[in-house]
């Protein structure tokens, strides 16, 4: 694969980083105004690592995923920033260059496997098509490889089910087939956009297990998008919490669950059902709704819903946009409250209710 890019390979300072998203912005001009779906997102990802992106719906997770795959090319979307994949910037890459990357270097699985599969072609046809785009092989070899992949993702009787249509598969089987399709070219980066949201809990666990296994086998980097912190806790190494198109907290999974520091993350944690122990209090969903991405609140994006904005002097929550600042190694938080005070609030006011 070659990507012709006008920007020289400068990427991240860390040589282990495989994907580096830098100040990514995806804005959609619409009749109502400019929708700032992603506004200054930065994160790094290594091979073999699973990064969770969490946030309520509408926070820009899917738009980010599609930007990485270059799927906004050819639309009206305005994209800026950098997406360094193995040292090459994908933002300025042409549609043709992206085509070579899609499926082979970066693959994606989507939330709703039924609507993501073409209703008129067999499962086998659709998966082997994904293989043949990037590999010059005969139809028979593609078929063989497809059946292998179907077996690998745990579809019983794979050879016979090759000729089934998507509607003849169950939800879980469809998502397995999508995973087989995504992994057939052994991509170095797998993006799973809410892969288990449409599935029931048992199937959900199986699918996540499968993603982890395949990560181990291929040593791929994985981005797991979800609005379910439970999924993150079980699966991911690192987490980015997104709110209103921005990262509001980032860090290793352990930090995020043990010492979260951003009020929005606290809100997410309080609204998460616990499997491990009995809650002291009721689940408390975050009051209010996600911000408009056209008229983003001035100051902190979270301010209309934040219980703690009065703890910051000088009304700064409503006037100054907070930066995403490190608070511990690898752990960054976007909030005006002083880190010491945040930890105090966590201990005294948040932790007891989790």
């Amino acid at each position: 694969m070659t990507i012709t890019s006008p920007v020289p390979s400068a990427a991240s300072t860390d040589p282990g980083v495989f994907l580096s998203v830098e100040d990514l912005r995806v804005h959609f001009p619409t009749d109502d105004g400019l929708v700032k779906s992603v506004d200054g997102l930065t994160f790094d990802l290594r091979r073999g690592e699973i990064l969770g992106i969490v946030g309520e719906s509408g926070s820009g997770k899917s738009v980010t995923a599609q930007a990485i795959l270059g799927l906004h090319k050819g639309s009206k979307a305005k994209i800026s920033g950098h997406i360094w994949l193995d040292g090459q910037d994908l933002v300025p890459a042409s549609e043709d260059d992206m085509r070579a990357v899609r499926g082979s270097e970066i693959a994606m699985i989507f939330q709703d496997p039924l609507s993501s599969l073409h209703p008129f072609y067999t499962i086998g046809n659709q998966i082997s098509e994904a293989y043949r785009v990037h590999n010059k092989v005969s139809g028979r070899d593609a078929r063989k490889r497809t059946i292998e992949m179907l077996e690998k993702v745990g579809i019983p009787n794979a050879a016979a089910r090759y000729s089934d249509y998507p509607h003849q598969f169950s939800g879980g089987m469809r998502q397995r087939a999508m995973i087989a399709m995504a992994l057939i070219c052994e991509p170095k980066l797998l993006i799973a956009d809410e892969p288990t949201t449409a599935l029931d809990v048992t199937v959900q666990a199986q699918i996540l297990e499968l993603i982890k296994e395949l990560r181990n086998e291929l040593n791929s980097a994985v981005i797991l998008i979800t609005h379910d912190l439970g999924v993150v806790a079980e699966t991911c190494d690192h987490v980015v919490v997104m709110y209103g198109g921005q990262a509001v907290e980032k860090g290793p999974v352990a930090d995020l669950f043990d010492v979260p520091e951003m009020p929005y993350t606290w809100g997410l944690l309080s609204s998460m059902p616990r499997m491990d122990r009995v809650r002291q209090t009721r689940l408390t969903p975050i009051p209010g709704s996600p911000p408009s991405l056209i008229q983003v609140p001035k100051g902190c994006v979270f301010n209309p819903r934040c219980r703690f904005s009065d703890r910051v002097e000088g009304n700064r929550c409503f006037t100054v946009h907070p930066d995403l600042l490190p608070t511990a190694p690898g752990h960054e938080v976007r909030c005006h409250i002083d880190p010491e005070e945040r930890r105090q609030i966590l201990l005294t006011e948040i932790r007891p209710n989790l």
């Binding site: 499926g103 989507f110 993501s116 599969l117 073409h118 209703p119 008129f120 098509e129 994904a130 399709m181």
Partner: protein, 336 residues
């Protein structure tokens, strides 16, 4: 699949049977409601005084004095097995199955008249259907892929104009240009394809275009909106995410889905046109089923109207049947 076909076939037969009953009843009702002896609608005149024994004899000969079910059976058995027709004066006429009766006005078997008209109608319908399908789908696809672009606007404005222009306008305009002004088509009289294919083509080209014009416009709009909808489907995103080139995404994944519902509409449209292309046939002086229908209505030639009605109904039912089968083939989700 076999069971599905048999089901649909049985359904089609039932519908045709119902059509035969309904048309039969309508043509029973007409003489009754207009207080006219049914003999009039068969022979064009009532040769004897009302109530005269001669008229009674004639009515009896045609079977109009029989009970309704017997008359229906007479009519149905004629279609199924043929019959011998006589007015009691002339030489009896053998009318083989499917016998739609005899037009005493035209002195011809209805079946023969229909058989002469069908090739003309089929030439017209099939040719223009191909034209409008190819034309409409192409324009619609191109427009649907670039909504709001100049090419989309030209295509859609053009098709709006085309839907608004009636055939009795476009037809004569085409004739004026190509036959009279440019002189490219000096003689457009119809010739059967089997006898003179070149003349057949020459006679058909303008009717095809003017009929297709109207439908192409509808199909362009339909294809455009289907294409727009399809291209925003999740599976199109999946196709792109695989790294497929645009052609494959558009044709294999997009068009395939966008055209599937058009199969249905196309079949029904073609079926409906049998017997209803009256204006086109009139403008271009083609003696097809539409022309036959209109002239027989004007002359109140009941046997012909009856025959054409049945033929048109059968055409529609057959089109429906074919569409159902085709749909089951193109859409695997249809359970068969």
């Amino acid at each position: 699949m076999i069971r599905f076909i048999i089901y649909r076939l049985l359904g089609a037969i039932v519908v045709i049977w119902i059509v035969s009953v309904v048309t039969f009843l309508i043509f029973q009702a007409v003489p009754l409601l207009s207080h006219t002896n049914p003999v009039y609608f068969y022979t064009g005149k009532v040769p004897f005084k009302p109530g005269s024994p001669q008229l009674k004899a004639l009515t009896h000969r045609f079977g109009f004095d029989l009970p309704l079910y017997a008359q229906y059976w007479h009519y149905l058995s004629g279609i199924l097995f043929g019959q011998t027709i006589t007015d009691g004066v002339s030489v009896p006429i053998k009318c083989p199955a499917p016998c739609f009766g005899y037009s005493f006005r035209q002195n011809e078997l209805v079946g023969t008249l229909i058989a002469q008209a069908v090739p003309v109608s089929l030439s017209l319908i099939v040719g223009s259907a191909i034209l409008w399908l190819v034309g409409g789908v192409s324009v619609g696809t191109i427009s649907g892929l670039r909504p709001g672009s100049a090419i989309d606007r030209i295509g859609m404005t053009g098709s709006l104009a085309a839907v608004s222009l009636p055939i009795f306008f476009t037809g004569p305009v085409l004739l004026l240009i190509f036959e009279y002004t440019l002189g490219w088509l000096p003689d457009v009289s119809y010739a059967p394809i089997t006898q003179n294919p070149v003349q057949w083509l020459r006679s058909m080209i303008l009717p095809w275009v003017s009929l297709a014009f109207l439908f192409a416009a509808l199909y362009a709009r339909l294809t455009r909106s289907n294409m727009l909808e399809t291209m925003s489907e999740d599976y199109i995103r999946t196709a792109r995410a695989k790294g497929l080139d645009r052609r494959t995404v558009v044709i294999k994944h997009g068009l395939r889905a966008a055209l599937t519902p058009i199969v249905t509409i196309f079949g029904i449209d073609v079926g409906t046109l049998v017997g209803t292309t009256v204006i086109t046939e009139n403008v271009f002086n083609l003696r097809g089923l539409g022309f036959l229908t209109i002239s027989s209505i004007q002359q109140q030639d009941l046997p012909i109207i009856l025959g054409v009605t049945i033929v048109a109904a059968v055409a529609l039912v057959v089109a429906n049947f074919v569409v159902d089968i085709l749909y089951a083939v193109v859409d695997p989700r249809v359970t068969v």
